[in-house]
């Protein structure tokens, strides 16, 4: 095992990777932009290197700076997290050219699965079911029109380099095709630096079900069970769970084996996810996510494995330490993503300062977070703040636990989707497992946050007034630790009747 690891990411995923690395006795190096000087991942690492101004292109996407930081600190390996450079074949190549271990697939495999069209060909070559659509990059709008005509509207325009729902547009008629292509290309260019898009049949009511896999350089490969990620907004997952409510033991083995076949055909290595759409008993290969995914904790809680530890072991050349038979998922896990966004205003990202924070705790509750009070949530980066993951003996227990955890989660200062998530977790369609990627459109299109009851409103008014009274009283009476000790505050008030 290497001795020193640089984590080329920020936020909750950098913190999560750093924790495992520290537990393995590996010295850790964080990198950070000028906007992230006070971030938790910077504090947690043994060393930290500033790599540039806030815009990602000048810092977290700056390959030269990151490799420079690794060389300067003597790091032997780089973990890219997710997003940023995680699936960037040039970065993987630059790492190996600099003599650094890239904790992820080899550059070739990244390129192969990163190109959606090539990945599709790979899937076809091993006999995996795929969605009807384009099989090669098309030069002009005419080709798109023809293909759309052939497979029938609605069609889906997708970025070839895409992921995370970016650079994707549903086009329901010829009249909208041009605008949809343009929007997808513009977004793809911005997000991935590549405007190439393609087109496929739009599946009306799919579930998103994906399979976690591991491959090592010794030819071993295992699948670790599925995650259902159908609850999405803006094509981006917000609730994930495992097992999927529609999964059968037979289908799981079939999808698992298909996923491993695709990965092997791609020369894949390390942890990865093969995504499928599922509708009415059929599944279709969607794409390979060649990275540790946001929702990986769902699989960790079910299998008892530490995927980051396994990633580091595989990257250092060790074989996968378990056989397919030793993978024995247990119970049910659910993850809710907490974004800085306003669910009532079309999920508009929200920036600001974390003014108050209390994260959920307790048996079966895990909170992967990069937050602390006083942290500024910058406009420069993906607005994910944290993830709450719960595990229970049954789906019902995991969901009830999640409701308890979310209703204990205090975040003030930025908007979060917590009240939407709580409403979803109570919805009959969710509870009965009737999911599709259009779940939110079907059931929550006009969602408004529940109006606070008159009692809750009055308590808010009273608490705000008490806080002002308290703040006033502590003026000039503050201790040197700059916050009032309990006995300096207003204390216990018993209000007499009448």
């Amino acid at each position: 095992m290497f001795k020193k690891l640089l984590v080329a990411n920020r936020g909750e995923i950098a913190v999560r990777v750093l924790r495992t690395a520290r537990e393995m006795g590996i010295t850790t190096v964080a990198v950070y932009s000028q906007a992230d000087r006070k971030s938790l991942h910077v504090e947690m690492a043994d060393e930290a290197v500033e790599i540039g101004p806030p815009p990602p292109l000048e810092s977290y996407l700056n390959i030269e700076r990151i490799i420079g930081a690794a060389k300067a600190t003597g790091a032997e390996a780089i973990h890219p997290g997710y997003g940023f450079l995680a699936e960037n074949a040039s970065f993987a190549k630059a790492c190996s050219e600099a003599g650094l271990i890239f904790v992820g697939p080899p550059s070739d495999a990244l390129r192969r699965v990163g190109d959606k069209l090539e990945a599709r060909q790979l899937a076809l070559s091993v006999g995996a079911p795929v969605i009807p659509g384009m099989t090669a990059v098309q030069p002009d709008i005419g080709a798109f029109k023809k293909e759309a005509q052939k497979i029938g509207y609605p069609v889906l325009v997708k970025a070839a380099a895409g992921g995370g729902g970016k650079g994707m547009r549903v086009v329901s008629s010829l009249a909208d095709l041009n605008a949809g292509l343009e929007a997808a290309m513009r977004e793809s260019q911005t997000a991935f630096g590549d405007a190439t898009v393609y087109l496929e049949k739009y599946i009306a009511e799919p579930r998103h079900i994906e399979m976690q896999i591991l491959c090592d350089e010794h030819g071993n490969a295992v699948w670790l069970g599925e995650r259902e990620c159908s609850i999405q907004r803006r094509h981006q997952k917000i609730i994930e769970e495992s097992p999927s409510p529609v999964m059968t033991a037979k289908l799981r083995v079939e999808m698992g084996q298909t996923a491993v076949k695709i990965a092997k055909a791609a020369g894949y290595r390390n942890a990865g996810t093969v995504e499928f759409l599922y509708e009415k008993g059929h599944y279709y290969f969607l794409e390979v996510n060649a990275r540790l995914q946001v929702e990986h904790p769902v699989t960790e809680l079910c299998t008892g494995l530490d995927l980051v530890a396994l990633q580091l072991q595989i990257a250092s050349g060790e074989p996968i330490p378990l056989t397919q038979e030793q993978v024995q998922p247990r119970g049910h896990a659910v993850e809710c993503r907490i974004y800085a966004e306003d669910a009532a205003r079309d999920f508009l990202p929200s920036s600001g300062v974390i003014a108050a924070l209390a994260e959920p705790q307790g048996p079966g509750v895990r909170c992967d977070s990069g937050l602390r009070e006083g942290l500024e949530i910058s406009v420069h980066y993906d607005p994910i703040l944290s993830k709450v993951i719960t595990h229970g003996e049954s789906r019902d227990e995991a969901i009830r636990r999640m409701r308890r955890a979310l209703s204990d989660y205090v975040i003030l200062g930025v908007a979060t989707p917590i009240s939407l998530l709580l409403d979803i977790l109570k919805h009959p369609a969710f509870l009965s497992g009737k999911l599709s990627t259009h779940f939110l459109d079907h059931h929550f299109a006009d969602w408004k946050p529940p109006r606070p009851s008159e009692n809750v409103q009055e308590m808010a008014l009273i608490a705000a007034t008490l806080a002002r009274a308290g703040a006033r009283r502590s003026d000039g009476a503050l201790s040197s630790k700059a916050r009032p000790t309990p006995w300096q505050t207003i204390g216990h008030w018993e209000i007499a009747h009448g």
Partner: protein, 165 residues
């Protein structure tokens, strides 16, 4: 002390008054029989009719955010400006967050429908549609494509449609 907030568009008044028996709390003039415990700075447990409410309070400029039993309530301090000024959302379109104006879809003088997308703002690696709050004529546009906007920057002014429009 007395405190005023705007909540759900209504002016609400809270008063704390020292009495012989403790402190009397009134909301909009009505005495509230509650038991309050300050747990930590800005962190309260309030009991009313046997029901407990956990509350965390943070003042952020003109707004006070209060978390109560899992819900967040935002209180506004009444503005000192004279009442009657039209809300900014009605006559101006403002950027809801900092970002780059990636696309401007209207020009001055153009008539827009309610909810029509008039501009696209790019922030946090995503595109966000800015929509007209109501029908109107675009009176003035303050930025051009590619400009970087601060939060709450006025992107354009809308004027009401004249009868003949």
């Amino acid at each position: 002390m007395k405190n005023e907030y705007i909540l759900e568009g209504k002016l609400r008044r809270v008063a704390l008054e020292k009495t012989r028996d403790g402190i009397q709390i009134t909301v909009d003039g009505n005495i509230r029989s509650v038991h309050c415990e300050e747990i930590d700075s800005g962190h309260f447990v309030i009991e009313k009719d046997g029901v407990k409410y956990r509350a965390v309070v943070r003042e952020m400029g003109d707004r006070t955010h209060v978390w109560v039993n899992g819900q967040t309530v935002v209180l506004e301090r009444p503005k000192s400006e004279a009442v009657g000024i039209v809300g900014s959302s009605d006559s101006h379109l403002t950027a809801p967050m900092p970002g780059t104006l990636s696309k401007l879809l209207v020009t001055e003088g153009q008539i827009v429908e309610p909810k029509q997308t008039v501009a696209i703002l790019e922030a946090m690696k995503m595109e966000h549609n800015l929509r007209a709050p109501r029908a109107g004529k675009v009176a003035k546009v303050f930025f051009k494509e590619g400009d970087v906007l601060e939060a709450d920057a006025t992107v354009l002014d809308l004027e009401p449609l004249a009868e003949e429009d």
